[in-house]
């Protein structure tokens, strides 16, 4: 009961912080998509670049999030900028890997038929490869988005706001309700966004007549 009263009292602040969190996640996931999909196409087409790109993205993934934020804060200062930069770096790997997997998994017969019919490389990419790989690519985007919602809570540490504010403020003042509210809200957001993107994925699969 007390907790519900706390939420009611936090109404306006909760809305602000949720919005901040959504913007951080949205901007980061969208940027990661705009960088990650072309990178995935690149490493599929130009095999020599695969080791380097995947290696780099893998190394980035192993840097602890707090350390990454601290590192990016040095050149970028406090606030949303270093937070978004860190989130994009973490979100990249699943998108690159899934784009590569999706493109690589297309039936060779279909690609040969497209070549034999006289598709140009660009036409084959846009009209055949990307549509057929899209369910796998979108699954990567879903993974990235869910990860991003979680890591975005840490950006409160460098003054970028978001639901992490509740968690860290609660930790420093010993306010358990604040911690729980932050955790619950962030988890709910991850579940909802993951579910929504999963729904898009299913819809596209149905349109593509894949199992």
């Amino acid at each position: 009961m007390e907790f519900l009263e706390y939420i009611a009292a936090q109404r306006t602040a909760l809305l602000t912080k949720t919005t901040q969190h959504l913007v951080l996640t949205g901007v980061s996931a969208a940027s990661a998509m705009l960088i990650g999909v072309p990178l995935g196409i690149l490493i599929t087409r130009w095999k020599a670049s695969r080791g380097f790109v995947l290696g780099l993205a893998g190394v980035v993934q192993t840097v602890p999030s707090v350390a990454m934020l601290a590192l990016l804060m040095l050149p970028l200062g406090l606030g949303a900028k270093p937070a978004v930069a860190a989130l994009v770096l973490y979100a990249l790997l699943p998108i690159v890997v899934n784009t590569h997997t999706g493109l690589n998994g297309i039936d060779r017969d279909i690609l040969e038929a497209a070549d034999g019919l006289g598709f140009t490389r660009a036409q084959r990419l846009w009209m055949v490869e990307l549509p057929l790989a899209s369910p796998v690519i979108i699954a990567g985007i879903r993974t990235s988005t869910v990860i991003t919602v979680g890591i975005a809570t840490l950006s409160a540490l460098i003054g970028a706001g978001g639901l992490g504010d509740y968690i860290f403020r609660g930790l420093s003042t010993g306010n358990n309700q604040s911690i729980i509210l932050g955790v619950l809200a962030a988890s709910a957001m991850a579940l909802l966004l993951g579910g929504a993107i999963g729904g898009i994925e299913k819809g596209i699969k149905r349109r593509l007549h894949q199992p």
Binding site: R108, A113, A114, G116, L117, F119, T120, V128
Partner: protein, 252 residues
């Protein structure tokens, strides 16, 4: 007319040859069947004609023009191709699959639709029923009919067919062979048809080119080849089914 002049293909810098010095002339409106067992180089030979595989040596002309002097995309769009693996685009409807080469050529939607429906009709697939379906909803035989319709969409002079009926059951294969014969009489096309099936070759061919180990053993009409096999290999190839048939008859 398609002329293959002494073409060869090696995939390992000359250690072995998939195709070794093949020369062939295919006349207008002729159906030439490339017959041979798997790995004999017949599919590679076919793919070299529309540059899905580049020859290591030799030259190919289509309508008197060297294929290397043409834009590869234009060349491929000017030749109909029916693939062994069918290769329909699973995310497009049957109608859009048939019309895909017209779309690549930039034809208007209305024209594409009319042409696709006419071709589906010709291949015995009611456009109203099948046009809006997706390839996965069709049987193997129906899918390959769509594959043939697709190859005919841009009304190419030449049709290359790579074991198109190989994966189908005997009954469906027989039906499609008969339909192809009928089609040949209605629309005059120059066809190169690859198969390993002797009976299919005898049914469809104006001339048969028997391939073995990357070389052509004999070229001739079905009659010529049956009556006068030029090599031991050809004699054996056509002799085997006859012997088997005889054996079954004595058993019975």
């Amino acid at each position: 007319m398609i002329v293959l002049d002494n073409i060869s293909k090696t995939f390992d810098d000359g250690a072995s040859w998939a195709v070794n010095g093949v020369s062939l002339t295919v006349a207008e409106d002729e159906t030439l069947v490339l017959l041979g067992s798997s790995g004999c180089g017949k599919t590679t030979t076919l793919k070299m004609i529309n540059r899905l595989v580049e020859p290591s040596d030799g030259s190919i002309t289509v309508d008197g023009r060297g294929i290397l002097e043409q834009n590869v995309i234009d060349l491929r769009r000017s030749i109909g191709y029916v693939f062994q693996g069918i290769g329909l685009l699973p995310h497009l409807t049957v109608r859009d699959n048939v019309a895909i080469s017209l779309r690549l050529l930039g034809k208007p939607a209305r024209e594409r639709r009319e042409r696709a429906d006419a071709l589906l009709e010709m291949m015995d697939l009611a456009p109203g029923e099948y046009g809006g379906q997706f390839p996965a909803q069709l049987s193997g035989g129906q899918q390959q009919r769509v594959g043939v319709a697709r190859a005919l969409a841009a009304d190419p002079t030449y049709l290359l067919m790579d074991e198109p009926f190989g994966a189908l059951d005997a009954l469906t294969r027989d039906m499609l062979q008969q339909e192809l014969l009928k089609l040949k009489r209605r629309i005059r096309k120059t066809i190169i048809f690859v198969t390993h099936d002797i009976f299919e070759a005898l049914t469809l061919a104006d001339r048969i080119a028997v391939m073995h180990a990357g070389r052509i053993e004999q070229v001739g009409s079905p009659d010529d080849i049956l009556r006068e096999p030029a090599t031991e290999f050809v004699r054996d190839l056509f002799g085997k089914p006859a012997r088997q048939l005889k054996l079954m008859q004595t058993d019975a």
